[in-house]
């Protein structure tokens, strides 16, 4: 099987049952995506597939051979961090760090969804999307943080979004 991950082509023959998450972690040494639950419930495994955030634990690798896959490693490296990675550092958007790669990939995908004008459950007007704290919390509800670093995660995302998002202080998943 052939995969394009973080701009590099990989040829591997994993078991047909292998998820994208296990492919990255067990076969390619990309241990950024984390296994929290393996059932789509925590978001620690979030990666970008063709630019869209998805749960890699519920993705069968064999189904994604033509796709452009990006993990946290592909967003940025020490020395050349992605703005979202930089903002998480700046705002202490983590404690233990286990959920962080998923949070960051999810936040990057989420801001792209906002840019496309996609509404969320928190949007009062489905046709006019604006980004406040309530929107950030709702849109990030698929990423749980056992350390409850939520306030700082929202701060980091707000900074990158450049949004004046001070309304709705209801932060959490």
């Amino acid at each position: 099987m052939r995969f394009t991950i973080n701009g590099r082509l990989h040829e591997v023959e994993p078991d047909i049952r292998t998820s994208l998450l296990d492919l990255c972690r067990e076969h390619l040494g990309l241990t950024g995506p984390k296994k929290g639950c393996d059932h789509g419930q925590c978001g620690a495994c979030t990666i970008l597939v063709n630019g869209r955030r998805v749960n890699s634990c519920l993705s069968l690798a064999v189904m994604h051979q033509e796709d452009e896959i990006v993990t946290i490693e592909g967003l940025g490296e020490p020395g050349s961090l992605h703005p979202m990675q930089q903002a998480f550092l700046h705002h202490d958007g983590y404690q233990c760090g286990y959920c962080t790669p998923g949070q960051i990939c999810s936040a990057v995908g989420m801001l792209d969804e906002i840019a496309k004008g996609w509404p969320s459950h928190a949007s009062t007007d489905l046709e006019q999307v604006s980004l406040d704290d309530a929107e950030i919390s709702e849109r990030m509800s698929g990423n749980l943080c056992r350390c409850a670093a939520y306030p700082n995660i929202v701060d980091a995302i707000r900074e990158v979004a450049g949004a004046d998002a001070r309304t709705g202080s209801d932060v959490g998943a």
Binding site: L58, W118, P119, S120, S137, A173
Partner: protein, 328 residues
């Protein structure tokens, strides 16, 4: 996870033909099937990958209705400008379900066919008629807080967990399929999902190998007011305890049309013609809404932990009608 053969389909007809053998399953987003395969609740021998089929378009028809390809991701459907404008109840229902990541993978066809979230269905160590026909139902007399109060049988009290399907039921959607022998059929949403009866292992009327290709929505009712109200244990990322999809038209101070479908109450998106009949032609108001709510739960039966759903369903319906009509 049990080992399986994997094959990718090139056309809908080929997908259907190659899935005719028992033990074969389609896989689209995989967000439900893979979850269940990891737990060996589902143990298909062969997967037919339908995710690359050219069924990912949302098209507006000449009559103003829309035709939704079965592979359209839930995210794209919720954000489609035509859907937002003319079927906001559908956008709202989709956005109330799962998470951003899951909606990016979950497909229209897969969402309709997602399986129940009954705890025992997921726990292979316990009896469950849906998972293992004839083994018994652990939820009756067990923990049943999230389970059904309407249309249950003594074999199964599971609910259908989809939010999207509830909105599609209110909108009178039609499911379009292709069968293994190449025949096509059109199934009204009302007939698509089954009640459990004495065969709770069968969720829908689809045959082995029958592929959903599209979902059609009839042209939107002009002037309809839409709402999707979902009551759940936390504000986001939880399945519905009770939900209501409502499309109401008020003309000259009276309710001209009412389409009301309910989630969390039954084995299928629930709709009761009597509830709508009570409302139509009447002036909105508290007493009227109470009468409709009484009709909704007339035959409801709780199983202990889920008794609370009976008053909750009443109140959720009344609140939704108040919101949409301003009637007090």
């Amino acid at each position: 996870m049990k080992l399986f053969d994997y094959q990718r389909a090139d056309t809908p007809e080929q997908a259907a033909a190659s899935a005719v053998a028992p033990g074969t399953r389609f896989i689209a987003g995989g967000t439900n099937l893979l979850d269940l395969m990891k737990l060996q609740v589902e143990t298909p021998e062969r997967l037919v990958d339908v995710s690359r089929l050219e069924l990912a378009k949302i098209e507006t028809r000449e009559d103003g209705g829309v035709t939704i390809g079965a592979m359209v991701p839930n995210s794209d459907l919720a954000a489609d400008p035509h859907v937002i404008r003319n079927y906001p109840v559908l956008s709202r229902a989709l956005l109330a379900g799962a998470t951003g990541q899951l909606r990016n993978k979950a497909t229209t066809g897969g969402n309709l066919l997602q399986r129940t979230r009954c705890y025992y269905f997921y726990d292979v160590a316990t009896p469950c008629n849906k998972r293992e026909p004839g083994s018994g139902c652990s939820a009756i007399g067990g923990v049943n807080r999230i389970l059904a109060i309407l249309g249950t049988s003594d074999q199964c009290i599971a609910t259908h967990p989809s939010d999207m399907a509830v909105a599609m039921r209110a909108l009178d959607a039609t499911i379009v399929t292709v069968k293994a022998d190449g025949d096509r059929r059109r199934i009204p949403m009302a007939e698509f999902h089954r009640l459990p009866g004495d065969r709770p292992h069968i969720d829908t009327i689809l045959e082995q190998g029958e592929l959903i290709t599209h979902v059609e929505l009839p042209s939107p009712p002009p002037g309809g007011r839409h709402a999707y109200r979902k009551v759940r244990d936390r504000a986001s990322y939880a399945f519905a305890l009770v939900s209501v999809a409502a499309v109401i038209e008020v003309e000259d101070g009276r309710i001209a049309k009412a389409a009301l479908a309910f989630g969390g109450l039954a084995h299928k998106p629930w709709r009761d013609p009597e509830v709508e009949h009570i409302l139509i032609g009447q002036t909105p108001g508290k007493a009227l809404f109470e009468a409709a709510a009484d009709a909704l739960v007339r035959d409801a039966r709780g199983f202990g932990h889920n008794d609370f759903k009976i008053p909750l369903a009443r109140r959720t319906l009344i609140a939704t009608l108040q919101d949409l009509t301003g009637g007090r």
